[in-house]
């Protein structure tokens, strides 16, 4: 009987006060025919000691980035997290609070969120940011819906095939039930052809979606793709890697109207894909259709500066079926972690994380390209991820590389049948030269033994 304070004596007194004889009578509103006549068929209760032992043992069977050197990316990255992030975000005053409905009793969460919004606008060059969404994939979809609501166009939404395939899949799932179609411009040679992209956009297109660096890690001609969107008055939504913003041009510099991102890399552990942080920032003109929570500055009765949830008329609890989004929360704790991360990294630290990732990724690309049976798949500039072509069955090769102690990369065949023999490799600032050399050696041994 975990976490219950009432003693048998309390129960007796309370039942007496209510005028009942037993706990069962509390449920007399529930017709007898529906009541469960047996105990739930779930495993028996464990004490804290047993739970810690049993669940600890199960977790101990996993072979994650703590057991094998991690070169996996594709939207989830093994970046360094300073100790202050875990320490401060695990304060109960933060993580056991809820949405700040009572602003006078929630200024901590509100100010931290206002700071998060500011940090995101500083990073992206956008005018406004919401308080965050579920993840990078939902951020893409919500951004498209926001553009549809703002532009009131029902033509095809044009998406680059070099956008994360799972993000594209979410967008499909959502738009299937609404008017506009999704048109995907295929990725050829690790990116989209700007002419083909431009040709897919119509005067009725509300939005286009681009990823920069793209899913393959490459830096496409983002400017040309954004211009193609603007030529038809469509909204240019660009999905970015927030760590790259320490090094690459700010999205406002190449004309992005809306910036979305998966914020996991900003101080959040990989945790098998979630919970993550959907970043959504945009130009002023989209504000009235911006989904999710937003914190704004105001004053109290004494004129003191303070913060409050604002513009709630956009939201579902007011607009109900007329809302553009049904999202009614944010990812508060992850937004907080990201703010602490950015405060700790500062301009220098973020730039170093980006620059080190770039340098090490390029060193790794060079080292792997020297392995017999591996070659770099796509030419051109990349940030921290690259694709190698593998002359033997990549599944077998990666298994061998795994046995040698490395998560060697992500097979692309699951999303791109034409890239069945391709592997996506990611390198962060955490990887050392020795680990990269070791990876190349593991690939070499795997390929020569198969």
């Amino acid at each position: 009987m975990a976490y219950i304070a009432n003693t048998p004596e309390d129960v007796r007194v309370m039942l007496d006060a209510i005028g009942l004889d037993s706990l069962d009578e509390l449920f007399d509103m529930v017709p007898a025919e529906y009541r469960l006549k047996r105990p739930l068929c779930i495993p028996p209760a464990l004490t804290e000691l047993e739970l810690t032992r049993e669940v600890g043992a199960l977790l101990g069977r996993n072979q994650g980035a703590d057991r094998r050197v991690c070169f996996l990316g594709a939207g989830s990255y093994d970046h360094f997290i300073p100790a202050v992030v875990d320490n401060l975000s695990s304060r109960g005053e933060f993580y056991t609070a809820y949405t700040p409905y009572q602003p006078e009793a929630s200024q901590g969460t509100l100010q931290a969120t206002f700071e998060y919004q500011t940090l995101i606008t500083q990073l992206t060059g956008m005018d406004v940011s919401n308080a965050s969404l579920y993840d990078g994939g939902s951020a893409v979809t919500e951004a498209v819906m926001m553009a549809l609501a703002t532009n009131r166009r029902t033509g095809p939404v044009v998406v680059a095939g070099s956008v994360h395939p799972e993000y594209r899949r979410i967008l499909q799932t959502y738009l299937e039930h609404l008017d506009p179609q999704v048109v995907t411009v295929p990725a050829v040679g690790g990116g989209v052809d700007p002419r083909a992209f431009a040709a897919a956009i119509t005067p009725e297109t509300a939005a286009v979606v681009i990823q920069y660096p793209n899913f393959f890690g490459r830096l496409e001609d983002v400017e040309a793709l954004v211009e193609a969107a603007h030529a038809h008055g469509a909204t240019a939504i660009v999905s970015v890697d927030p760590i790259s913003l320490g090094l690459l041009r700010r999205p406002d510099a190449y004309g992005a109207d809306v910036v979305v991102a998966e914020g996991q890399g900003l101080g959040n552990p990989m945790t098998f894909g979630g919970p993550y942080l959907g970043i959504l920032a945009c130009k002023q003109e989209y504000l009235r259709k911006l989904p999710g929570r937003i914190v704004g500055q105001t004053t109290d009765r004494n004129g003191k500066r303070c913060w409050v949830l604002t513009l709630q008329t956009r939201e579902q609890h007011i607009r109900r079926e007329k809302a553009t989004s049904n999202i009614c929360t944010n990812q508060g704790l992850l937004a907080l972690r990201s703010s602490i991360y950015l405060a700790a990294m500062g301009p220098r630290g973020l730039r170093d994380a980006a620059e080190l990732s770039t340098r090490k990724a390029h060193y790794a690309a060079e080292a792997l390209a020297k392995v017999d049976g591996l070659s770099l798949a796509f030419p051109g500039p990349f940030f921290k991820e690259f694709v190698v072509r593998c002359s033997k069955d990549p599944e077998a090769v990666l298994r061998k590389v795994g046995e040698a102690g490395y998560h060697g990369g992500v097979r692309l065949g699951r999303w791109y049948p034409d890239l069945a023999d391709h592997i996506l490799v990611a390198v962060t600032e955490k990887r050392t030269k020795d680990e990269i050399d070791g990876l190349a050696e593991a690939y070499r041994n795997a390929l020569s033994s198969l």
Partner: protein
């Protein structure tokens, strides 16, 4: 005497040249950055982030946290949110690298422990729901609702090709997410009235039930804290028309192990593990929104699902041709789901039933303590929460629900949910949860009663003990300032 006060913003505390994190120098052969990436792609200068020392950062956030009420510090009876205690043992386990250091695209063979946990959770959630299949994908309750409606739409497309059911019926007492989700799933929403008891008005329901109806979204127990005994009949009427019954699982805490939605005719539902299964609310997220469905709907569930092979190994099943697809990248909000698993394992079958019993016991006891001053329009009994009304207090003494909520803060209690549900005027929606003690409930009731006797004029100024007084919310919306600027 140390008094809490607001903090300067991070940006105002920034001083050029201060820093916290320092990364190692590069250990790979140095090349000029311009040789790696063409200058056209590069930023000329570092991003304009604040510059702070490590102690600056620690003090800033420590002092900010002190401005929050939280479950760890305060009774937080926010109706519909189930603000129960967040067990520390789950936090310690969630902090292990066996969870945090797992990448979503690792090979299944390296994830057997975690997949066993998630598979076990799927099983447990199906059993508690009395339904057949579960997807853990949705990232929040609202996304669970939406995914379930996508599932319903896909099912009807398969079952009834060539015709379209266009409507979703929703009670007027429902959470606002219900109509928003229905609209996004391409349905038109039709509101069903509540009767004088706060239950579904069965006659109104029958009059609105037609062959155009795809789904009825019910919350049971509902938002006024009542169990609607008509649910079986509602399910029967829907099923006769080929329609589906959906349950908003926000209030599952009241019925764990006592009654299962599937046994009452529910076809599909979502859970809020951050409510029912003790996941911390995180200042507003993350949550999760797993959905449970009958077997006929299982093929349409969002992928991936954890499967188990004959040899006992687990795998991620992505190969589901009828699936509605994905609603989220990767697997789902694993960290939240993991805590739910730990919670269910800590409770066991008897413990979960006891949770429901004590949640309902606490709510009824509290209702009895306050009812003479704060009338409860929808009955003298309740399930896990109840809605009291300040209507007569407002009429007789000018004390409104908002005043009461704000003043409670001065008594060190977080306010209940105010002005919801919409069907009760001057509503205070109070949910104590099972983890509060009788002493706390009595102290809270005493505070509520004391407030009812206070000078109404001074109540309009509450709270008075917080670092800020009541805020100008109109100003915030009229002239939005949504970021700091130098």
């Amino acid at each position: 005497m140390y008094k809490l006060d607001l903090q300067p913003l991070l940006f105002e505390s920034s001083r050029p040249g201060r820093f916290t994190a320092v990364l190692p120098t590069s250990d790979v052969p140095a090349a000029s950055l311009d040789d790696l990436i063409p200058p056209a792609h590069l930023q000329k200068s570092a991003p304009p982030l604040p510059e702070l020392s490590e102690l600056d950062v620690v003090r800033h956030y420590t002092n900010l946290s002190a401005l929050n009420m939280s479950i760890d510090g305060n009774f937080y009876p926010l109706g519909s949110c189930t603000m129960k205690y967040n067990p520390k043992r789950n936090e310690r386990l969630a902090g292990l690298p066996g969870l945090g250091a797992q990448h979503p695209y690792q090979d299944d063979s390296t994830l057997q422990g975690l997949l066993a946990i998630l598979y076990g959770l799927q099983d447990d959630l199906a059993e508690v729901a009395g339904l057949d299949a579960v997807s853990l994908q949705p990232a929040a309750g609202a996304q669970g609702e939406l995914a379930a409606l996508f599932v319903a739409a896909a099912y009807f497309r398969d079952q009834e090709p060539g015709r379209k059911r266009t409507q979703v019926l929703i009670p007027d007492s429902a959470h606002g997410t219900n109509p928003a989700s229905a609209h996004l799933a391409g349905f038109e929403t039709v509101t069903v009235k509540s009767d004088g008891r706060g239950l579904v008005d069965l006659e109104d329901f029958k009059s609105k039930l037609s062959d155009d109806v795809a789904v009825f979204m019910i919350t049971n127990p509902n938002t006024v804290g009542l169990f609607d005994p008509q649910i079986g009949e509602i399910a029967k009427l829907l099923h006769e028309r080929g329609a589906l019954l959906y349950l908003d699982g926000a209030n599952m805490n009241a019925i764990l192990g006592v009654v299962r939605p599937g046994d009452m005719g529910v076809d599909l539902m979502h859970y809020n593990p951050h409510k029912t299964f003790s996941g911390p609310h995180g200042g507003g997220g993350p949550g999760a929104g797993p959905i449970a469905v009958r077997s006929k709907l299982a093929p349409y569930l969002p992928a991936p699902i954890v499967g188990r092979k004959d040899d006992g190994t687990y795998f991620l099943d992505e190969d589901r041709p009828k699936s509605i697809g994905r609603v989220r990248a990767f697997f789902g909000n694993t960290g939240v789901l993991f805590r739910a698993y730990c919670y269910i394992r800590s409770q066991g079958p008897d413990g979960l039933k006891r949770v429901a019993q004590h949640a309902v016991l606490n709510a009824n006891y509290l209702l009895g303590l306050v009812r003479d001053v704060y009338p409860v329009p929808c009955g003298t009994r309740c399930m896990h929460e109840f809605v009291a009304s300040c209507r007569s207090l407002a009429k007789d003494r000018g004390i409104r629900a908002m005043d009461v909520g704000k003043r409670l803060i001065d008594y060190n209690f977080h306010a209940p949910t105010v002005y919801f549900p919409l069907i009760v005027s001057e509503a205070l929606m109070i949910e104590p949860t099972e983890t509060e003690s009788r002493d706390t409930l009595e102290a809270f009731a005493a505070a509520l009663k004391a407030i009812a006797l206070e000078d109404p004029e001074s109540l309009h100024d509450a709270p008075v003990s917080t670092p800020v007084s009541r805020l100008d919310e109109v100003k915030a919306a009229k002239t939005p300032v949504l970021r700091w600027t130098p």
